[in-house]
């Protein structure tokens, strides 16, 4: 029997979407925070991104790995985020649920896309 995809909180969904968009070579805390800020227009605390990535890692939805040391980071490496298939399934399930819930509310909410 296939396992049920994990349910996601809103910010977890945003982090996973940003990580998917940026890809495994460019998704790290600063870029994920920037991406969410640019697309949603809301201010994002990087500390929240750290703790959310840790939580997603504990749920086995993402893996992280250290990149190379970079001079613009004072010689520190980036922790790169890779979304695992379970993470993709969780995004799909959560996004599907949202779509399903929004489906017949267009007359109330207008065009939400």
């Amino acid at each position: 029997m296939p396992s049920t995809p994990a349910s996601l909180a809103e910010f977890e969904l945003l982090v996973l979407l940003a990580a998917l968009r940026l890809g495994p070579d460019e998704a790290y805390t600063v870029s994920i925070a920037d991406d969410i800020e640019q697309r949603t227009g809301r201010s994002v605390r990087r500390a929240n991104v750290y703790t959310t990535v840790q939580r997603l890692e504990a749920k086995r939805l993402v893996t992280t790995s250290l990149g190379e040391a970079r001079p613009e980071r004072g010689g520190k490496p980036r922790r790169l985020v890779t979304v695992r298939p379970a993470g993709v399934a969780a995004v799909r399930a959560t996004a599907g649920a949202i779509q399903a819930m929004l489906g017949d509310l267009a007359h109330v909410l207008g065009d939400h896309r």
Partner: protein
């Protein structure tokens, strides 16, 4: 190179979860550079600071959540802590008791210090209530005959409002009980009506006393306290307006006060203080206490100045009575005005911290030794990836479990001791526990004890844990499998143990002395047949306007009538009275006597004294050895004769008869005149109820009259059980005069036992503390030696293999223990000798025996503690030690 400020790096390194600290710093630096490029370095600095602050908040919140999630591991730590208590019962018992004593003593002192330094009177605006008292500077005594001054102050003082006065009367309350009439003594305040305005507490039923009740000739009324209303009148709601009998008087119930109201001290009923309109002469009338409430805006100092001015005016008018009188305005309950002083804080907290630190250092050595035995376990956990913080936390929780159990025991004991001690103290004073003192630990004290417990656990757990998990842990990792411990007792722990042995050595001689004294006193007192006597304090109601000579006459007649009726009771063999009976609390004074005609006077620092009634000595089977007994003429006010006991003759006249010599009591102050000479007319055999180091205490007896002796304690010698006479004594007294009160009706041995109990308890407590000190010292030495043997397992094995003799081996290992014990004993003896040198009254020859005993006890205890580690060392097989090497 990173330009992120160092403080920010430190904060984030500390807060960031394990493994992401580098990422956090890298991200911070990257963003800072980006901002510096876009907005300039100054703006970047500000924005970075805000960034760090924002991240700190989020990380702290995340950490708090993490802690919450980790509660499971805390539960594990607690379970382990309790298992450790059972696994090391010796440490649990010794360490737990030491901590229980420290926390109990600390909490008790904190509670007591609060009552002493900052008692709070639980009445509305209680901090504005004051007491006005008068002191006689010539006698250094309080002058309580204040009727004259009270009337003047009430009329003229403006800075103290609702000035009132009261005196305490113990009266017999006569009430119906199940169809019969019962009499019970109650504490009544004869008090000004203003008391109820000062207290600002409304009655539960009816009304309080009002000014009209104070008018001479006003119908007598009484206000009942809640307890009396409930207990004696069953809480009847129609009680107001009914009449009751108080002693020989009848009064109408005006009202009932709510539960807990006991103003001015611990009174259960209130009757009006009726004063005559014509005023009073200076120092006329009975003892009174005066109270009031500071007027709005007035300070205690201003009120004091006003009362002082009025008293000075009175001193000018009546110098013979008021020349030496000085008024004082005190905060009610003795509360000192102003903010808490630094000295008060010091006196409150320093003794507590001292006791706690001493106990923690003692127990810390044991915990440290236990940690040393778990060296390998800690190193293994390290190797398996446990963080240092995790291991430190576990050891802290283990110490916290021990300290918490000890604190619970200590608090329960402190609560019981405080209740017993405070009640015993006040019953020894005047039998009244003031309403603002609630014996037992307060909630704030419990919180204080919790803080002490955590602080204690911190010292006990964190210090050894930091040591065990420092660089040493890595060394132990390398040592794993090779056997033996690498943790060692450094100079701090060794010094702590030497101090502990020293303190124990210092405490042994006084403990021995106190215990011996308590046992000796009890043994001597047991020889006296105190169980054959019934004792009771007797007093008669005195009306406020009754003249002293008329009252004295009535008192004499009432006592004589009582004695006549009691003599007719079956089983009564002898009746006498005094201001105290043998075995009751003693009165001591300074005195001087003439050793011979014309010889210089000899001062006596402590002379025991009792005023005795007729047939006192015969009643207590103490015959007159020289001279004569008192006769009726000796009881007149101008008589100047005394009797002394054998002990007096022995100590001051080398056993010769002092009859014909003179003795006098010293003046209470240097300015006052000494009392008049008393001629010694007889010597009486020692009764044997006041033991001292030199045998029975030296006594001077004076002749007492039932008219004036205060207090008047009757002693009845019975043929059988004297307590069977108690109901008859009460019945005879009630029938004779309803205003005749009996207090403390008990057998003499019960009263004497009550005096002995605190001494026995103190001796027991000191003996217990010393025994605990010995046990802790032994446990510390045992720990030191155990760790030493564990550390040197391989070395011992190798030495044994190379043919070292057991004696040499033991000497080599145990030299440190011997040095430690020797240093402790030497230091302890040095301190004791210093005390002897500084105290001329202590004879070196007398204490040298105690010093030898102390040293021997400590040495034996120390060597006993070495036996088990020695056995362990000698059992190390060379082959096993070599295999692991």
């Amino acid at each position: 190179m990173t330009a992120t400020p160092r403080w920010a790096r430190r904060v984030l390194m500390w807060l960031a979860p394990d493994g992401i600290a580098d990422d956090v710093l890298g991200d911070l630096e990257e963003v800072r550079r980006r901002r510096a490029a876009a907005h300039g370095p100054a703006a970047a600095r500000v924005l970075t600071a805000l960034d760090v602050f924002d991240m700190t908040l989020a990380l702290v919140r995340a950490r708090a959540g993490e802690l919450f999630h980790r509660r499971g591991s805390f539960v594990q730590d607690y379970k382990l802590g309790f298992r450790m208590l059972l696994k090391y019962p010796g440490l649990t018992l010794a360490g737990g008791l030491a901590l229980a004593i420290a926390i109990g003593v600390g909490a008790g002192w904190y509670d007591l210090a609060g009552d002493l330094f900052r008692p709070a009177v639980p009445l509305p605006g209680g901090d504005r209530i004051v007491e006005v008292e008068m002191r006689n500077s010539a006698t250094a005594q309080r002058e309580r005959r204040l009727l004259h001054d009270f009337v003047a102050w009430r009329a003229q003082a403006h800075l103290i409002e609702d000035l009132g006065a009261y005196r305490t009367l113990d009266k017999n309350l006569v009430f119906q009980d199940g169809g019969g009439v019962r009499t019970e003594p109650v504490t009544v305040a004869e008090i000004s009506a203003s008391a109820f305005r000062v207290a600002r507490v409304a009655p539960l039923l009816g009304r309080p006393l009002i000014d009209a009740d104070e008018a001479p000739g006003a119908p007598p009324v009484v206000v009942l306290g809640y307890t009396v209303w409930q207990r004696q009148f069953g809480g009847r709601t129609d009680i107001v307006g009914t009449t009751l009998r108080l002693g020989s008087e009848t009064a109408t119930v005006a009202g009932v006060m709510p539960q807990g109201f006991a103003f001015p001290v611990n009174h259960r009923m209130w009757v009006p203080l009726q004063l005559r309109g014509s005023g009073y002469a200076p120092l006329e009338g009975p003892a009174l206490r005066v109270f009031g409430r500071l007027a709005a805006g007035a300070t205690q100092e201003q009120a004091y100045a006003e009362v002082t001015a009025l008293t000075e005016r009175e001193a000018a008018a009546s110098p013979e009575t008021h020349q030496s009188l000085r008024p004082r305005v005190l905060a009610y309950g003795g509360q000192s005005p102003g903010d808490r002083s630094g000295f008060e804080l010091l006196l409150t907290h320093v003794p507590i911290l001292l006791v706690l630190v001493i106990a923690c250092v003692n127990v810390g050595t044991l915990i440290y030794a236990r940690t040393a035995t778990r060296d390998a376990e800690i190193a293994t956990r390290y190797a398996l990836g446990a963080s240092r913080a995790r291991i430190v936390m576990q050891l802290f929780v283990e110490a916290l479990v021990l300290a918490s159990c000890a604190a619970a025991v200590g608090l329960v004991a402190a609560n019981a001791a405080l209740k017993w001690g405070v009640n015993a103290y006040y019953s020894g004073q005047d039998g009244q526990l003031p309403f603002w003192i609630n014996p037992g630990l307060k909630p704030t004290t419990v919180l204080y004890a919790i803080a002490m417990t955590i602080a204690g656990a911190f010292i006990l757990g964190i210090l050894p844990a930091l040591k065990a998990t420092g660089a040493h842990a890595h060394a132990q990792l390398k040592n794993l499998g090779a056997g033996g411990s690498t943790l060692r007792f450094g100079w701090i722990w060794t010094s702590a143990m030497i101090v502990q042995v020293t303190l124990t050595v210092i405490c042994i001689p006084p403990a021995m002395g106190i215990a011996q004294e308590a046992l000796r006193d009890r043994r001597i007192r047991d020889r006296f047949p105190a169980k054959d006597y019934l004792a009771a304090a007797i007093e008669l109601d005195q009306k406020i306007d009754e003249r002293p000579d008329a009252f004295a006459r009535r008192r004499q007649q009432t006592y004589e009538a009582l004695e006549r009726r009691l003599a007719q009771e079956p089983g009564v063999r002898a009746i006498t009275f005094g201001d105290r009976l043998p075995g009751m609390s003693v009165a001591v004074r300074r005195a001087e006597f003439e050793p011979a005609n014309g010889a210089p006077l000899v001062s006596i620092g402590t002379l025991w004294t009792t005023a005795v009634g007729p047939r006192y000595f015969a009643s207590f089977d103490a015959p007159i050895l020289h001279g004569r007994d008192f006769d009726e003429g000796d009881r007149r006010p101008n008589a100047r004769v005394a009797l002394v006991n054998e002990a007096f003759a022995r100590q001051y006249f080398e056993g010769a008869s002092p009859v014909g010599r003179r003795v006098r009591f010293a003046a209470p102050t240097a300015q006052a005149q000494p009392e008049r000479w008393l001629e010694i007319v007889g010597v009486v055999r020692d009764i044997g109820m006041t033991p001292t180091d030199l045998g029975e205490a030296p006594y001077v007896f004076t002749a007492a009259s039932a008219a004036t002796t205060q207090p008047l304690v009757i002693g009845i010698k019975a043929a059988g059980d004297p307590s069977a006479l108690a109901p008859r004594l009460r019945a005879v007294a009630a029938a004779l005069d309803p205003g005749l009160r009996l207090d403390e009706v008990r057998t003499l041995d019960a009263l004497a036992w009550r005096i002995d109990v605190p001494q026995m308890v103190a001796a027991g407590a000191i003996a217990f503390v010393v025994a605990l000190g010995l046990f802790l010292s032994a446990a510390g030495i045992f720990s030191l030696m155990s760790v030493n043997v564990a550390r040197r397992t391989r070395e011992i094995g190798l030495r044994t293999a190379l043919g070292a003799s057991p004696q040499r081996l033991l000497l080599n290992i145990f030299t440190r223990a011997l040095i430690l014990i020797g240093a402790g004993i030497a230091a302890g003896n040095a301190v004791l000798l210093l005390i002897v040198a500084l105290s001329p009254e202590i004879d070196l020859a007398e204490v040298s025996g105690a010093l030898l005993v102390t040293s021997a006890v400590m040495l034996v205890v120390g060597l006993l503690a070495c036996i088990e580690p020695a056995r362990r060392a000698l059992r190390i097989a060379p082959t096993d030690a070599l295999k692991t090497a």
